[in-house]
């Protein structure tokens, strides 16, 4: 079991061992960085084709099937096309900022992968405030989006950028708030500690993942919704709503820069999915004790893949929101619900001391009711609010 | 090798002076505010440097000061920028030398 589990760690150590001791940490870092970049870049390629295939199936068509066997070489063809396209910079654009924007978007997102634990002993950097690091570098992408939108000197780009920033700011609040119960109950900001806190098993052999608690389940759902909005995916993809504003802040980009944005968006999705797996789905732990022989990184990959599939599924299912509905949904529904979830987590924590046969069902019922009732009421309030005619107070 | 404390302090002093000079020289209120934020950050740098070079780093006083002052900086920016927007609405300008209705 251990051999297969630690195979990548050992490989890294062996490779670093070939170098003198003084540069070994540096080499280990470089190996980790290279591994992450290679794995997730290929993951990006794979996801594009999978997404198109799955969307196609869901929409009752085939999807790409010409390039290579079953169309599997399609990403390669797309990449080649992107790289060979002419890089057009508008005449009136602010050249420097226009150039820097895709870099400013992509670099912080790569950084975010550094703190994710992909398997047992497989974390590139173990900050003891890892979650904070993740959100800190994640927040840098807002500025990049603004740079892209503003520097293009195009009103569609600017509107798209403003929409994207408003959306990202609005959804960053519930995103962070929904992780707070996890941090509180794990008592740590380090992702490794959080994974370790979910690593024990109950009597039935079931893992103590956070998602198996009322607040964890609610937290995961809230987190995933906020993550969808944060990575500008459908049904929250109105920064790029092509029917209204062409392609939002991407309008004036082409060729390699466009590919970088595309990559950045998918990497953002991957990073946030990895965080969801780590925070709520037990990271690289197996769901049952008797399944522990499966290598830890495989578990991570499985959960990761499942969540990515969920995102694709949602994209195929739900229509796009209107901007005021989007903001209302965040501020009137998600944020209060996240705060209530915090209270539920507290109730769960305090009721953990109950010693009785019926304690567990009662705990569950209590906590589930505490979150379900506000959900019902807030939902009703939101529905009545969204049915009123739109007021154009944000449009100048 | 590690950097001595004085280097951090001089960096902070430079940052402070740049912020101050900028706040004094520019006409646009937003830039004046950016200058103020730079000065704020220079002070934060001092706090953290003093904490790091304290013989008792387990006392987190300097760090705590910096954290609180980051929070205050955020609040200050929010209020300052809101004020600028409000003034702009009334006077259609964001140049500080035209904010002079309090003139005696």
């Amino acid at each position: 079991m251990n051999g297969l589990d630690q195979v990548f760690v050992r490989l890294c150590h062996w490779f670093a061992g070939l170098f003198p001791a003084s540069v070994q940490p540096l080499i280990a870092c470089i190996v980790a960085i290279t591994a992450i970049m290679v794995v997730f870049a290929s993951c990006f390629a794979l996801t594009t084709i999978v997404e198109r295939k799955v969307l196609g199936r869901m929409q009752n068509r085939f999807g790409p099937n010409r390039v290579g066997p079953w169309g599997l070489l399609q990403p390669l063809a797309d990449g080649l096309k992107m790289l060979t396209k002419e890089d057009i910079v508008p005449y009136s654009a602010d050249k420097t900022v226009h150039f820097l924007a895709p870099l400013a978007l992509t670099v912080p997102i790569w950084l975010a992968f550094a703190v994710l634990p992909f398997g047992r002993n497989m974390t590139a950097v173990n900050f003891n405030s890892g979650v904070l690091f993740f959100f800190a570098v994640g927040s840098a992408s807002e500025l990049a989006v603004f740079m892209a939108g503003w520097s293009s000197q195009n009103k569609y780009s600017l509107i798209g950028a403003m929409r994207a920033i408003a959306q990202m700011i609005s959804y960053e609040v519930p995103l962070v708030l929904s992780t707070v119960p996890v941090l509180m109950l794990a008592g740590s900001l380090s992702l490794n500690d959080i994974v370790a806190a979910q690593g024990t098993y109950t009597i039935g052999g079931l893992a103590r993942w956070n998602v198996f608690t009322p607040w964890g389940l609610a937290g995961l759902l809230l987190f995933l919704i906020a993550a969808t909005a944060e990575s500008n995916r459908s049904p929250f993809d109105l920064p790029e709503g092509e029917s209204e504003i062409i392609a939002g802040f991407l309008t004036e980009y082409s060729g390699f820069k466009y590919a970088l944005f595309f990559l950045g968006e998918y990497l953002g999705l991957f990073a946030i999915t990895g965080l969801a797996v780590t925070l709520f789905l037990g990271g690289w732990h197996a769901p049952f004790q008797w399944l522990e022989w499966v290598p830890s990184w495989l578990w991570f990959a499985a959960k990761f893949g499942a969540l990515i599939f969920l995102f694709i599924w949602v994209r195929a299912t739900l229509p796009r929101l209107r901007l005021d509905q989007l903001l209302n949904f965040s501020w009137r529904f998600m944020v209060p619900l996240c705060l209530i979830n915090l209270l539920v987590a507290v109730a769960w924590y305090w009721s953990g001391a109950w010693k009785s046969v019926v304690a567990m069902p009662v705990r569950w019922l209590l906590c589930a009711a505490l979150i379900a009732l506000p959900y019902h009421w807030l939902g009703r309030a939101l529905r009545s609010a969204s049915q009123s005619p739109r007021k154009y107070i944000y449009a100048e | 090798m590690t950097t001595p404390l004085a280097n951090y302090l001089i960096l902070a002093a430079l940052l402070f002076a740049v912020g101050l000079a900028g706040a004094l020289m520019r006409r646009n209120a937003v830039l004046v505010l950016i200058g103020l934020e730079l000065m704020f950050n220079a002070a934060n740098l001092n706090f953290i440097a003093f904490w790091r070079f304290n013989p008792h780093p387990e006392r987190l006083t300097g760090l705590m000061f910096a954290l609180f002052s980051i929070a205050i900086g955020a609040a200050e920016a929010a209020i300052g920028l809101a004020l600028i927007i409000a003034i702009y609405r009334h006077r259609r300008t964001a140049q500080v030398d035209q904010f002079n209705s309090l003139k005696g």
């Binding site: 500025l143 | 960096l11 940052l15 101050l20 004094l24 520019r26 740098l45 780093p57 205050i72 920016a77």
Partner: protein
Amino acid sequence: MLNEIAFLLCASIILAGAVGAMMLRNLVHCALCAAGAFAGLAAIYLQLNAEFAGFAQLLVYVGAVAILIVFTILLTRSTELQPGAVHHSSSWWMGLLVGGLVLACLVGSIMSSPSLVRLPSQPASAPVKGIGEQLMSQYIMPLETIGLLLTSALLGAVVIAVREPEKSDPPAR
């Protein structure tokens, strides 16, 4: 050696960002330069082993304050360059003088104090747990006050910046 290089790199980023923020003509460029300076400061904090403060700096200044500044610049239409507009105040030379004077005073006092030229005595770190515990015990009153301050700043900013409604709606019952 590595440390020195990192420090010099960060310091030059910060100073370049700061000077750019204060000197450039285009306000959006200024704001972006300021964001660069803020990010450089976060790096310096990391170098000083203040992880938490560094990430907080990144989150607050690059993630929030810079965005706010950019929004304000756009909302006050400060980017619309008028040809021949004056960007510096009429007495800009006095500002430069005062800035230089302050710098001279500060550097002079730092240089004249021998106790300030010292190296860190031991590797220090600020565990997040320690920060949290101190925040909840020793610094509980400041923490509560900051919470209150931020809430009132939020409300105040909204109240100040919100557009007055054209016609006041009848009060909700």
